[in-house]
């Protein structure tokens, strides 16, 4: 079995510590995609959020189109598109055309989304997201199957309930980067049981997102990465666990900090041999595609490129 490695996830954020203009960020993205293709990555993955101060990419498919136009063999995926905020007809129609123009190099990862202001911007109640997903996912799955060429569709999950939704449709998972090996194993067991109960043949392989940084100088790169990781995790943590009503700020920050520390432990950081060995553990669980998040916000270019070349060496090992 060959383990495929994707590069991710690009959110196109003009972060406070490096507030580049978005014209530069998107120019850099296209250069990074060319580099990823030359290194031999399977694919590059884009992330989506809306109405955030750092200009997080809100239109993955438009950005994907540009990458497909700049490259010739590299796959492009969404990790993940927040489907309940969209018109499923629009997503299906856009994806089918992009896939055809890109000669089958587009993949879709879709998930629920979780941030109230994003749903609210589109006039949608966050609490309706599950019902919306239940209605949209079968329609999108059918459209992806019928597209010419067909479009691989993954369901982004961080919980057992979300995995079971995907299982009932026989769709492969795109597991969240914050899940531990134990959580992943339990989720896959639940997924397989739900698929059997629904009379569906589960796919052989799933996809996984993981925070990965390949380095030959851990001390140097950890000093560079830590503030970037803390910023990223604080942002996501703030979205996932907003301050409770009546919760005092110090208590909230302490709660947030505990979450950040826990999530940082999931980072796989080391030389190519170390990283390859760790990624093999996920392959053994049933993940055939690992999207390695080596771009955290907007890293210094030379650091990102060093990590990409390092991941290329990992790819050479795991794809043998």
């Amino acid at each position: 079995m060959t383990l495929r490695l994707g590069l991710g996830v690009f959110g196109m954020q003009s972060v406070p510590q490096r507030p580049d203009h978005h014209v530069k960020l998107y120019r850099d993205l296209l250069e990074d995609a060319e580099l990823a293709e030359s290194i031999g990555f399977d694919s590059i993955w884009l992330s989506e959020h809306h109405f955030w101060f750092d200009g997080y990419c809100p239109a993955d498919l438009a950005a994907a189109g540009a990458i497909l136009g700049r490259t010739t063999t590299l796959g492009v995926g969404t990790a993940v598109m927040l489907l309940p905020m969209h018109s499923v007809e629009k997503v299906a129609d856009d994806a089918a055309v992009i896939s055809r123009l890109g000669e089958g190099r587009l993949s879709l990862g879709v998930a629920l989304g979780y941030r109230d202001p994003e749903f609210d911007g589109f006039g949608i109640r966050r609490k309706d997201r599950g019902k919306l997903m239940d209605a949209m996912l079968p329609r999108l799955a059918e459209s992806c199957r019928e597209a010419e060429p067909p479009i691989p569709l993954y369901v982004g999950v961080a919980t057992a309930i979300a995995a079971q939704r995907a299982a009932r449709l026989g769709l492969p998972l795109f597991a969240d980067s914050t899940m531990t090996v134990t959580e992943l194993r339990e989720m896959l067991e639940g997924y397989n049981a739900a698929a059997v109960a629904a009379g569906v043949t589960p796919p052989a392989l799933h996809a996984l997102q993981r925070d990965v940084f390949v380095t030959d100088d851990r001390e140097r790169d950890w000093a560079m990465l830590l503030p970037e990781l803390r910023y990223m995790r604080r942002q996501y943590g703030g979205w996932s666990f907003p301050q409770d009503e009546g919760e005092m700020v110090p208590a909230y920050l302490q709660r947030l900090e505990a979450d950040i520390e826990a999530k940082l432990t999931n980072l796989i950081m080391g030389d190519a041999d170390f990283v390859a060995a760790r990624l093999r553990e996920f392959e053994d669980l049933g993940f055939g595609l690992i999207v390695c998040r080596s771009q955290f916000g907007n890293l210094p270019r030379e650091s990102l490129h060093r990590a990409m070349h390092g991941l290329g060496r990992v790819r050479d090992q795991v794809s043998r």
């Binding site: 200009g55 438009a62 540009a66 018109s87």
Partner: protein, 262 residues
């Protein structure tokens, strides 16, 4: 005067086919290449296709889009990102009168379409939006979603300070709406038909057939049009249209002998 190729339909297009047309457009002195959605037929992806094409063509790239079928903020976001990926070369033509389709819940009325396009215009302007319409409320400020901001803004913004947007005016109110919002007005060219005047900073746009001739287009230019899209579909048609039209539209007094050999 400006000359554009298209809009080229995306229903059966291939990436390499689009690139060949765009390369011929560049070689034939066209100012822009346009692609075209047709959502009633399930053909979307206009802005992604434009972003794709822009990577292999250095001229401006246009997208003819069906508006009003999904949330205008999604459309604004697509325009912004597509424009950023090509360093500010995107142009847009909005169609408000798409054929009925059971695939989309189309706006029920002219008023709903006007709200959609108005919110789109506000978003593209970079304004901090709060819209309280009969058909749209942005942000929703729904009780179920809390806490949420009172206003929002398109972020990231397009690369261009003002993205050129035209509205195809198949009914008079569409031209009025476009003018009120500072958008351009477009119409299909036909002998004897009206010519859209310039609106805001945008010339009137005429959608012409592949065999359009210079003389009637120059007459239309005298009546206010200034941007001509020619629907050529093969590289040969593109080359021929470029020879016929590019020179005469660019400069008054184009010497006839230049094209006499055709």
């Amino acid at each position: 005067m400006r000359l554009g190729l298209g809009p080229v339909g995306l229903s059966a297009a291939t990436g390499s086919g689009l690139q060949r047309l765009a390369a011929q457009a560049l070689a034939s002195s066209f100012d822009a290449v346009w692609v075209e959605e047709s959502r009633a037929e399930g053909v979307g992806g206009g802005l992604a296709a434009a972003a794709m094409l822009a990577q292999s063509s250095p001229i401006r790239i246009g997208a003819a889009l069906d508006a009003g079928l999904y949330h205008p903020l999604h459309l604004a976001e697509d325009i912004a990102v597509a424009d950023l990926t090509c360093q500010g070369r995107i142009e847009v033509l909005l169609r408000l009168a798409s054929p009925a389709s059971d695939r989309y819940a189309a706006p029920a009325s002219r008023a709903a379409l006007e709200e959609h396009v108005t919110v789109l215009g506000q978003a593209l302007s970079g304004a901090h939006i709060q819209w309280n319409g009969e058909h749209l409320r942005v942000p929703g400020r729904l009780d179920a979603n809390q806490p949420v901001p009172e206003r929002l803004a398109l972020n990231p913004r397009p690369a261009q300070p003002v993205v050129p947007v035209w509205v195809e005016a198949v009914e008079p109110w569409m031209a009025e709406l476009a003018r009120n919002l500072g958008f351009g007005v477009a119409a299909r060219w036909a002998a004897g038909a009206g010519v859209p005047a310039a609106s805001g900073r945008w010339p009137g746009m005429l959608l012409c057939s592949a065999d359009a001739q210079a003389a009637p287009l120059l007459a239309a230019a005298g009546a206010g049009a200034g941007y001509f899209l020619v629907a050529a579909t093969t590289p040969e048609q593109v080359a021929a249209a470029g020879r016929r039209l590019a020179g005469p539209l660019r400069m008054p007094g184009f010497p006839a002998w230049v094209n006499d050999g055709e």
